[in-house]
């Protein structure tokens, strides 16, 4: 993945988290619901962690060929 794309990914990925911290009144109500007996917000947090772990394994384009 190109460097610019990686930076954009990081900003887009943490953007909603920062937004929810700053403007919690605009958080969708469905975050309070349960999905498979587990709160949706917990699944969302798992998704955030998983996104960064998976993205870390995608090589920075051009970097490892040096």
């Amino acid at each position: 993945m190109r460097v610019g794309l990686r930076i954009a990914f990081a900003i887009i990925a943490v953007g909603p988290l920062i937004f929810l911290q700053g403007r919690p009144d605009l958080a969708p109500a469905c975050l309070s619901d349960d999905v498979a007996n587990v709160p949706a917000v917990v699944w969302l947090a798992m998704l955030w962690f998983a996104m960064f772990i998976v993205a870390a394994w995608i090589p920075v384009q051009g970097a490892d060929e040096r």
Partner: protein, 494 residues
């Protein structure tokens, strides 16, 4: 076995590692960077160990207990910082530097003043983090082992001096690796016990909801940061992580750029999995089980020993005295390993960056440089102990955020600019470093958390606890302005 036996075993093992390393250490390259012989997986574990400090693991469970899901950004945004560190910094850092951050920022501008500035910034950041860790260590150890705070800090400081002065980076890295493996195992074991006790993962949240008598813990926004505060806190954590010297010098311990990058991928994976487990399993379990146990409350209704003790209480509830003793030993070794890494960061910045920057005569011999490194470790230990005793009532999270703010405003911009911007001049870098250091420290001192809560004034001088959103762009601006005014620099492509 009681806690004291676990404590003695921990000390014996770590001292044995130190003397094993001391026999292998042959000079400057050993003490600063373990001769670059640490493999990528080993360094990945050491990086994870550095991140998974006692403050992080014990503190985050306590934070979830207190503020619920609002603790999530404290873990997810630093993970984003590690991802961006992997993208922007690790490769060039390993390619351009040998032992310290000073090697990187002066790779094309051979200005002694730049070395002094980055050295000072490294020392300030690492010292703030060291004090935070020592304050946490003193509080935790005094409760777990039943000794006085001052004695607890002195014991930790003495041990860290022995590790660093005799074993250097090799000893500090192996202590960190072993501790990381045991800590990860303990986090996994504790998570399994939590889910088993609750009867399933979903039931854990039902029990937590009953114990907390509310579902508010699963909602965001309880910190009432506002948009500015939320963005500034995120910037503090992302940029602060990317500029954290004791993490960055770990990349000098691997053979090459590719190993440095691989080690961070492994480290970030371990950190992500461990933090998700701490936040999403152990945190709710602490609310469900510790929160529901009236025997763990003090007369004022708070948790006995404070929120940093919640993980320890949970361990005792789920695994009895054996698991509690093991967790005490793990917490103790965690503290030792992290403070050793911070001490190395300070010692190497002193004996290399400050000496190369300030000394005008012939270069120091390797023998004298190592002697100075050891002396710096002893001085760091003494100063750290004194400051920890002085600031023992200070909030640990505040101290950690303070370190992150300074790193975000100093080492982060200096590294990014020296790696990627050919227009940076020595004057621009020095001005930016001095400005970033002064602005971030003043911004923190004037904040509500320090000016009002610590100093007792009625009104803060600035309205936020997180000044990074102002200080970080301002530091970049100062670098640009001064570089533009001081003319073209001698440039070479990275």
């Amino acid at each position: 076995m009681s806690q004291i036996h676990y404590f003695l075993v921990t000390v014996a093992v770590t001292i044995a590692i130190t003397f094993w390393a001391a026999r292998r250490n042959s000079g400057r390259a050993s003490f600063y960077a373990a001769e670059g012989k640490i493999s990528a997986p080993q360094n990945g574990l050491a990086i994870a160990g550095d991140f998974l400090s006692a403050g992080t693991v014990l503190g985050i469970v306590g934070l979830f207990f207190a503020i619920g899901m609002d603790a999530a950004p404290y873990l997810i945004t630093p993970l984003a910082g590690l991802f961006l560190m992997l993208t922007l910094i690790v490769g060039p850092l390993r390619r351009l530097g040998r032992y310290t951050l000073g090697d990187v920022v002066t790779h094309r501008l051979h200005a002694p003043g730049m070395r002094v500035v980055i050295g000072l910034c490294t020392i300030v950041i690492s010292l703030i983090n060291l004090v935070a860790q020592l304050v946490g260590a003193g509080a935790l150890i005094s409760i777990v082992f039943g000794i006085q705070f001052n004695l607890a800090v002195a014991v930790v400081a003495t041990l860290m001096t022995i590790y660093v002065a005799f074993g250097g980076m090799l000893a500090a890295t192996w202590v960190q690796i072993i501790k990381a493996v045991i800590l990860i195992f303990m986090i996994g074991l504790l998570a399994v016990l939590c889910i088993a006790r609750a009867g399933g993962y979903g039931q854990l949240f039902d029990l937590a909801e009953i114990s907390a008598r509310s579902r508010d813990m699963l909602e965001f926004g309880g910190l009432k940061l506002g948009v500015f505060g939320a963005i500034s806190l995120a910037l503090t954590q992302v940029a602060g992580m990317m500029g954290m010297p004791h993490l960055l010098i770990r990349f000098f311990t691997v053979p090459d750029e590719k190993a440095a990058r691989t080690s961070l991928v492994i480290g970030a994976t371990i950190i992500g999995l461990a933090m998700a487990t701490v936040l999403l399993v152990i945190g709710p379990a602490a609310v469900a089980f510790v929160g529901a146990d009236p025997g763990l409350r003090d007369p004022s209704g708070g948790i006995i020993g404070g929120t940093n003790m919640i993980t320890m209480h949970l361990t005792r509830l789920l695994g009895g005295e054996i698991l509690f003793g093991l967790m005490s030993a793990v917490a103790f070794s965690t503290i030792l390993a992290v403070v050793a890494g911070l001490t190395i960061s300070i010692s190497s910045a002193t004996s290399r960056d400050l000496v190369l920057g300030l000394r005008t005569g012939p270069a120091l011999s390797e023998r004298n440089e190592v002697a100075l490194f050891r002396l710096a470790a002893i001085l760091t230990s003494a100063i750290g102990t004194l400051l920890a005793i002085l600031f023992q009532k200070e909030n640990i999270t505040f101290l950690i955020v303070m370190g992150q703010t300074v790193a975000a405003s100093t080492t982060f911009p200096l590294l990014i600019l020296s790696i990627y911007w050919r227009g940076l001049t020595a004057a621009g870098a020095i001005a930016a470093g001095v400005f970033g250091l002064a602005a971030s420290v003043l911004g923190i001192v004037a904040s509500p958390a320090f000016w009002v809560k610590a100093l007792g004034n009625a009104e803060p001088l600035v309205p936020t606890d997180y000044p990074a959103l102002v200080t970080v762009p301002a530091t970049f601006l100062v670098a640009w302005l001064v570089s533009a005014m001081s003319g073209k620099s001698e440039t070479a492509p990275v």
